[in-house]
């Protein structure tokens, strides 16, 4: 087992602009974010010996940045790929394969429709292409959300209670200057928004944005040599399950085992308990994702997640601040939100978030990839423990 705090994030940044960024490709957003993260860490390309970027040919990107790595990864499992890559980077640094890793992400999800990047789903002849995507036309809002109705009926979650999740996250976004949607909203407004795939309405779906992000990770013994306070990686987890856009490949759709597997690994490797978590991020591509995350990670029992959010526990003023940037629903969502999700956790641990939660010692970040195909869980800390 890798000791908690063996590695730390010493550089972290988004692309200079996010939201709608015309005339910049996915490549351009990634390079901009990489440059910002290296400056944030006080390093140059010569200091980086490990590299991973996911949606681009890895050597194309490292060469453009002037990085000549001795370790590379490029795991692609969908939106949480960069969270898996961080987990792999922690292991690589701890095992001595490299000392300092740059993790790079960029996605022009809105303006150039992903110009310059490769995808992660739907290859001709693939299982998803043959047996899943045709039914939804590849529309995530109709497929990723398939368990929602069953959940509502099984656990008595009304449409009104479901809608609170979007209202809570907007309430956070109101005070976030870089958030795309900052006007307060209401349950009525959410339920009056256009129907996309009953029972899912537009305000229950994430944004479509342009953004990049990058992280610089190094060993704990080097972490104090950089300008910003280190954000230690205390523990990590990851798991795969469905393989298709819907939950058809999830063995128990209302109790997905991959979430529990990933969360258990993150708690065990970090040594923390749920009550240690000061700040929580759960990747919200759609309104139900945080419900399933809260339950699968064990913050609440199965069937309680929807009501927990409806009662305001995760909203401003609640006892478990979650998705404090406004999340994928209100802050930004490019297509793969995992990097942006981690960056809010990093800001919170550093004490530089727009909605700064007081005294964040431990922050937990959970993300999804390939719809219900993958998830990763990371525990960050202000102290190495």
């Amino acid at each position: 087992m890798i000791p908690p705090g063996a590695t730390a994030i010493v550089g972290a940044a988004e692309s200079t602009e996010i939201g709608t960024v015309p005339n910049v490709s996915s490549v351009g957003l990634a390079i901009d974010a990489a440059a910002n993260a290296m400056r944030d860490a006080g390093v140059t390309a010569a200091d980086i010996d490990g590299f991973t970027c996911g949606y681009f040919p890895v050597a194309d990107m490292s060469r453009q940045l002037g990085i000549f790595p001795s370790w590379a990864d490029n795991t692609v499992v969908g939106g949480c790929s960069w969270m898996f890559q961080l987990r792999n980077a922690v292991a690589a640094i701890h095992s001595g394969y490299c000392t300092t890793v740059l993790i790079v992400y960029g996605e022009s999800g809105k303006s150039t429709r992903r110009l310059g990047q490769s995808g992660d789903a739907g290859q001709r002849g693939g299982i998803g292409q043959q047996f899943d995507m045709l039914y939804s036309g590849g529309q995530a809002a109709a497929t990723f959300t398939l368990p929602v109705l069953r959940y509502q009926r099984e656990y008595g979650l009304s449409d009104e209670d479901l809608a609170v999740g979007a209202v809570s996250q907007r309430a956070w976004a109101v005070d976030v200057p870089r958030a795309t949607l900052r006007e307060p909203t209401s349950v009525d407004e959410v339920l009056d928004s256009p129907m996309i795939a009953w029972p899912i309405r537009r305000a229950m779906c994430c944004l479509v944005s342009d953004a990049g992000g990058a992280l610089v990770v190094t060993s704990a013994d080097r972490a104090m040599d950089h300008p910003k306070p280190p954000v230690y990686v205390l523990g990590t987890g990851g798991a795969l399950e469905s393989g298709v856009m819907s939950a058809a490949g999830v063995r128990e759709p209302l109790r997905p085992e991959f979430i529990r597997t990933s969360g258990d690994a993150a708690f065990a490797s970090s040594g923390i308990t749920h009550s240690d978590v000061d700040h929580l991020m759960i990747y919200d591509a759609f309104i139900h994702n945080p419900i399933f995350g809260l339950e699968g990670l064990g913050f609440v029992e199965y069937g309680e997640g929807g009501h927990f959010i409806a009662e305001g526990h995760t909203a401003p003023g609640g006892d478990l601040p979650m998705n404090t940037s406004g999340g994928g629903l209100s802050y930004a969502h490019t297509g793969a939100y995992g990097m942006l999700c981690m960056l809010e956790s990093v800001r919170q641990v550093r004490g530089e978030a727009a909605n700064q939660v007081s005294d964040v010692d431990v922050a937990l970040c959970h993300g999804w990839g390939g719809y219900w195909s993958a998830c990763a869980t990371l525990v960050f800390g202000a102290h190495a423990q």
Binding site: F131, Y135, G137, L146, R150, I196
Partner: protein, 137 residues
């Protein structure tokens, strides 16, 4: 170039698609452990045996959950809102499909309702869908 969402069979999945053309739901079963599974694969996901076979399933199923997509692909013969469903086969496997030959409304599409396999044209390819059992009586 066909639409990218028109299914492209592989040699490993061809028997399923042949079944669709014959009006039969043909899925895999493991000879070693007896587990029926979907999607098609040359290895049993339950016990890892390679001793697997295709068989003709009953086509009986129930509706586990669904959404109603407001703007479906125009590759379907019918237009307008369309269900995207998680369907549980009588033999055990869950799969993604669409419920057809009935109104696409929450009032008509009831969780746990009995379904049976039916086959529908999707951009020139015959694909698996399901219909309520009552509609046939």
């Amino acid at each position: 170039m066909p639409h990218p969402l028109i299914p492209v069979p592989t040699p490993e999945t061809q028997p399923f698609w042949d079944g669709c053309n014959e009006g039969v739901l043909r899925i895999n079963r493991c000879v070693a452990c007896g587990d029926a599974y979907f999607p098609p694969s040359p290895i049993c996901p339950q016990c890892s045996s390679s001793d697997v076979e295709f068989f003709d399933a009953t086509g009986d199923a129930t509706l586990y959950s669904y959404t109603i997509q407001q703007k479906p692909l125009d590759l379907w013969d019918t237009q307008g809102p369309r269900s995207v469903a998680l369907v549980k086969l009588a033999e055990g496997p869950m799969l993604t499909s669409s419920i057809v030959n009935c109104e696409q409304t929450p009032e008509t599409l009831l969780l746990d309702m009995a379904l049976r396999a039916t086959f529908v044209n999707f951009g020139g390819t015959t694909v698996l869908c399901f219909e309520p059992v009552e509609e046939q009586q």
